[in-house]
């Protein structure tokens, strides 16, 4: 196999993954999606590393990826815990709500206009119900509609 071509191809894929993750991280506001984007970036790095490892005939690349996976797992645990905390405090996953560290006197960022949600977008995945359906608490209903 043409090793150099393989390397280049893999590097391009790694780069694209990294770039897509980056764009997602920067653009999205949902903390979980941002986190996903970060993971995508990590994937890009991993792909590059493996490619380089093969090219150089070195185990180091793969070793590093193993650790990346381990660290990603830790990260997921901690970060998701934090996200959960934050989400509990406001009830929302919006990163823009957390801008208290801005300079004094600086106006807070608020959304100018919120586009109407279109009909076709109002579909969301439903998990197939399993087991006994819990009783619906009317208060909880009220709470849900607010989300």
């Amino acid at each position: 196999m043409n090793e150099l071509a393989l390397l280049q191809n893999y590097l391009l894929v790694g780069g694209l993954l990294f770039a897509i993750g980056l764009a997602g991280f920067l653009v999205r506001r949902n903390m979980i999606v941002m986190f996903l984007s970060a993971e995508i970036m990590l994937q890009g790095i991993s792909v590059s590393l493996v490619a380089w490892g093969r090219y150089h005939n070195d185990w180091g690349g793969q070793m590093l990826v193993v650790f990346i996976i381990a660290v990603a797992a830790c990260e997921a645990a901690i970060a998701l815990a934090l996200v959960l905390m934050l989400a509990k405090q406001t009830g929302r996953l919006d990163i823009v709500l957390w801008q208290d560290l801005r300079e004094e006197g600086q106006p807070a960022y608020v959304d100018r206009e919120v586009p109407e949600e279109r009909e076709e977008d109002q579909v969301w995945p439903t998990l197939t119900p399993a087991g006994i359906e819990p009783e619906v608490d009317p208060e909880e209903e009220l709470h849900r509609s607010r989300v």
Binding site: L26, I95, Y109
Partner: protein, 850 residues
Amino acid sequence: MDDPIRLLLILIPALPLAAAVLIGLLGPRVLRQQSHWLAIAAVLASFLCSLLLMRELSFLQRAAGAGGEVALGIGYEEVRRLWTWTDVADAYQQPRTPPGESRESLVGGGSRDFRIDIVLRADSLTCMMLVMVTLIATLVAIYSAGYMHGDPGYWRFFAYFGLFVFSMTMLVSVSNFVLLYVFWEAVGLCSYLLIGFWYQKPAAAAAGKKAFLVNRVGDFGFALGVFLIWTTYGTLNFHDSLRGGELEPARIQQAVAAERAGEVVPAEQEPVAGVFGPLRLADNELRPAGQPRTSAMISLAICLLLLLGACGKSAQFPLHVWLPDAMEGPTPVSALIHAATMVTAGIYMIARCTPLFLVSPDAQLVVSVVGGFTALLAALIALTQYDLKRVLAYSTVSQLGYMFLALGVGSLAGVTAGMFHLFTHAFFKALLFLGAGSVMHAMGNVIDMRRFGGLRRVMPVTYITFAVGCLALAGVFPLAGFWSKDAVLGAVHDKVHELEPHDSDSHGPAPHGPAPHGPAPHDSSPHGSAEGGGTQAVERPESSADDDVTPVFGLSNLLRGQIFHWLYLLGLMTSFLTAFYTFRAFYLTFHGPELIPPEAGRHAHESPASMTVPLGILAVCSALVGLLLDRSYLDGTNSFANWLLWTPSLGFPAAMRTTLPGEFHLSVAGWSTLMALGGIGLSSYLYLGSRHEIHGIRQFFDLAWVSGWSDVESFARMRQWRVARWVRECSAAVGLEWLLRLVVGALLLVVLVLSAPLLLLYYVSPYKLSYHRFYLDELYELVLVRPLRGLARLCYGIDRWLIDGTVNFVGRVPRQIGDVMRSLQMGLVPFYALAMVLGLLILLAVQLLG
């Protein structure tokens, strides 16, 4: 100490200084009203020391002259070193002249130390000044004990007094330009302190400050002159020495001989030719070394700058304005400092610098013109003043102008005449001031001559002594002023004669034969070769100008001769005016109906003996000093001038080629006596008679008729005339009143416009000009003081708003930047991430592509 000259030289200034310090320390608590004893004793001792010094010096001079031992044949001086003031080795690298001229190394070229030793000198000029200063100071000290009696600042007065005598004696006995400058300012300080002695009087405090400042302007010139001398000659010493500070003449001779022989001598042993030292003067080496082409300009510049300094101290136009104001000080101070001693420091300095002026004829001309002009100007102002002390002050300015006139002639006759006038003037002007002080004392400090009169019976001693002083000032034979003024005018007259072309005598001021070629008028002069100096002067029209000295102004001899001719006439004119205003003051004070102001109280009687005795002594001196010292009318010998010629700065070869003193000019004497008597006569006619005539004359010179003529009120009076009323009524009757008003208004306008120049003339009428001192104070205020203060305020405004504003603006820039940067700190996590990414991108690009 086995060196009497050293001891005396130290004692003369040290005694008054010690007295001053002691009085300053003990005065307020211990001495109080007894402070004068210390001062009198010290000054008297100082005077005696001066006499002893003079005696020692004359012995030495005679010995040197007789034995022919004076090495280079010029003058005689004794210098003593006390301690080193500053010593900066190799301070100045003077450009070396081409090798081969070994003499040049003595006077220019090579490395120069800035070494200022405290060196005191004894020569004729110094001794003369010392004797004069200490004598007058002694008399004034005695007088002050009476005059200042009971003043709360009694001790302070005598402390200042001692300080002044110290400074003045040091001023004349130091042997270095820097130290001359030091004591030049020190006497200025004493003057400042004594003028402002009664500091509670705002006028006194202001006058003190004014004196100091005007003097500072003069010192500005003096300092620049000194700097120029340093860069030109590479030394500031008057005397010759070795670089190591050795002053012994024999050692210097040895070193010079070694230098001439081309030996290599250690740096310590290199001879340094002083500015007025024999080494330089012997060959008239005052041409600046190494820069022959610029020498004339530089010489002129040095002289003019020194002249500016002298003008400040000696109150010459345009810096004379401080002296009249200085009369706010106590009268003894006016007598001592502002008439007899300090104001003559400028004369002393120029006389000391004669060798410098001798190489710059243009500078001499300027000195004379300044002197002559000041003499006339001050005399004109003195004509109309009513303040007795101010009359005397202007008279002092005028007489100092005379001295400058004489110094500027540039011949030895002129210089000695100037110094002689200085000497005699010290006596009679001190006398006059002390007399005025006596009057003031009696009149309860009233000094306005209109408020008292006819005091001759109240104060007989003062009256007589004052009369003697007036006669001396007016220059009446045979009093002191006559001789010295005659010498001054004679010197100027000689100069005119010297400069005029021989074939045409048409410009001659007065029929005057060639100078009598008597026997050598200076037997005791160190120069055997200088006999017939007068003859030489006639033979060498350009005797005062050395060959390589080219006059900068480029005036022809003819023109210069004419200028001196005018100055001569000016001098005569001034002597007329002097006599007039002197006797005007005299008559106003002592003659006429007896008038005593109420302030006098019980004091309106003759002053105590402590004041009258000095007056008497001074009167005797004023009367006799000229007669005793100037015997030119007998045998052409002026012992004063002959004594002065022993001074190194005067009796050196180049100077000896100029006109020498000693001639008695009968014609000049005649003219000046005529003028003096004319002045006295006129004032007697005016002031001994009715006051009405005086008033008329004043009205005439005040152009009072102009004021009457162009007075608007006279028009108002015209309305009351019958004709006018008639015309008005008629016009009213025919209803043409408006026309009448128009016509009258137009006429009035025309008359006003026409008379405007006359009005202007009225405000600058001769009388007003004189009375208001030619508005010079106002002019200075308008042209110098106010603009400078305005500039000061402007600068302050600039400083506050522009410069500090710029600074504050710069200070605000970081804050502005910070404000901009703050908006980046918006608290959005994705934004921070984006910023981070962009930064990373830049780094990446630089790293991968760079």
